[in-house]
Symmetry: C2
Amino acid sequence: MKRLSIWLAAPLLAGLAHADYRLETVAEGLEHPWSLAFLPDGGMLVTERPGRLRLVDADGALREAPVAGVPEVFAEAQAGLFEVMLAPDFADSGLLYLSYAYGDITANNTCLGRARFNGEGLSGGEVLFCASPAKRGAAHYGGRMALLPDDTLVLTLGDGFDYREQAQNAGNHLGSLVRLSLDGRVPDDNPFLGDDRARPELYSIGHRNVQGIVYDDQRDELLINEHGPRGGDELNRIQPGANYGWPLTTHGVDYTGARITPFRELPAFTPPLLHWTPSIAPSGMALYRGDAFPDWQGDLFVSALAGQQVRRLIRDEGRVVDQQVLFEELGARIRDVRVGPDGYLYLLTDHADGALIRVVPAS
Amino acid sequence: MKRLSIWLAAPLLAGLAHADYRLETVAEGLEHPWSLAFLPDGGMLVTERPGRLRLVDADGALREAPVAGVPEVFAEAQAGLFEVMLAPDFADSGLLYLSYAYGDITANNTCLGRARFNGEGLSGGEVLFCASPAKRGAAHYGGRMALLPDDTLVLTLGDGFDYREQAQNAGNHLGSLVRLSLDGRVPDDNPFLGDDRARPELYSIGHRNVQGIVYDDQRDELLINEHGPRGGDELNRIQPGANYGWPLTTHGVDYTGARITPFRELPAFTPPLLHWTPSIAPSGMALYRGDAFPDWQGDLFVSALAGQQVRRLIRDEGRVVDQQVLFEELGARIRDVRVGPDGYLYLLTDHADGALIRVVPAS
């Protein structure tokens, strides 16, 4: 298997070993798979954007019939079923969370639902949250989730593409992160609660389209990546109540080449930890904690769509000091990257005939 | 004498009495007078923008010869000698502060100087601060000063007109307020000191052209007014370290009519207490504490250039609840408004043949 070691502008880390790996296809024939979750029994759940939840059994077999009981989703362009995430007490409760687009082309937005999974289907589904207002079009939904150690969850939301100025308006949910209790209520320490004009669910604002999120428990840091326009993809460290500046600050320009703002950074806004200009189109994100690849310990992995790669981010005291481009040999848009309980990386390729791929040590 | 009572959109305060007043010309033949200070002996110092400091004796006579020892100023268009302010210990020390433009048309900015006044001339002049960087052109200097109760002073600075984006850059002084000790040093509790990239003198940023400032000791509030572009003049309450949003937020548009920003307010920026749209072009500002006009107790008075008036702002718990247009009968651009130790208002008209006018009760 070809080993990639395309090193970017940052200086090489002296003595850094390059891990040898092998790519294994676990499942094929997934239609635009978007996210996956690891079940306690060794199986996996995989979402497909058109609105199906698929089960991969512990033996690696993809069940043909999708899991029943998934909420009705609005599936078009970027819209559809997004993330599946197990509740912290899933082993007992069977509860899982799904994020998805709901509505129609004239009025839709990102919603969050919860249901009970019995190994076959979903039951007891309830809608916990829908981003407001509903908006026109089928782009920029966010839709990723992370659990925080205080038993709250953070859901990422997009700016709806045609509504970018609304990312600066705390009176709606466009272009933000929201934080909810596990049963969908507003935690009483949410950062915008003191502002009568702000939505109480908000956790941070000024985002464009956040499609990767990771909570680093060792550093107690919530990290997200977000799509910039043309250039200006960002990795951000989330501070509750902070404003990340879109569309008033960006390292990118409009798809037309037009300047969106004269500002790359401003004192009022939290700057990114790093930006990718030109864009890689970051999608999922994972933090490596595992035994299979000792050299990757503590590194971030960011999957990329247009970039057709996974970007490994090597950190030192939280600062990204080096980057490595991985898995370009797949020649695929990569929608998600996860670390399994086995310490292997799992990738989802974003294609009509998409695949679930496992990265294992070469030897 | 004509009594004006042009009430604006805000509801009338029930039972509010309209003060009867008389306008008296104290001195004429002042060339674009900009500010005045009341001397302990009953006299006054008046700056003229071309660079002269004039003395009005206690008997009201304007001395023909200007006060000697004024610093060299760059005088052109809006540039020149701005404010004169006495030190808190002036009666003992004779120290006074002058703000002024320094440089030439290609490179100039607002400076602050201090000198000793002996009743005739200035001596021991020293330059305490010059805004950086020097910029081209002759517009938007700020130049007003206020004393704070902790023996620091705040100096207002403009965005230099052609440099409006720099009002968002804490790495320079354009479009900001700065706070200095009375001998020109940086107070060790200035709000931007923790930011290595920021200028240590900064007190607030995101201003366009602040030409009125008042410290309200009863409410412990620092208030400023600033020129908007076309529309969007503002009254702001200053919080140390805050960003007032120019040019990312404004209720005005460009002089051409072009939109500067889609945002009137944003969560990241401190909104104005009120805005004047269309513009009145606010200049000086005073807080009325005196016995001559009991009805005006605690009101703010804002002089206006294009508006050719003084705007009286009636407050309730710090909120402006009503406004009254005064002194339009002068038909003059008014550069400054002050409250004398006698409780009378003093106005300076902004003309080549400008006047110092005193407002006294009609009866």
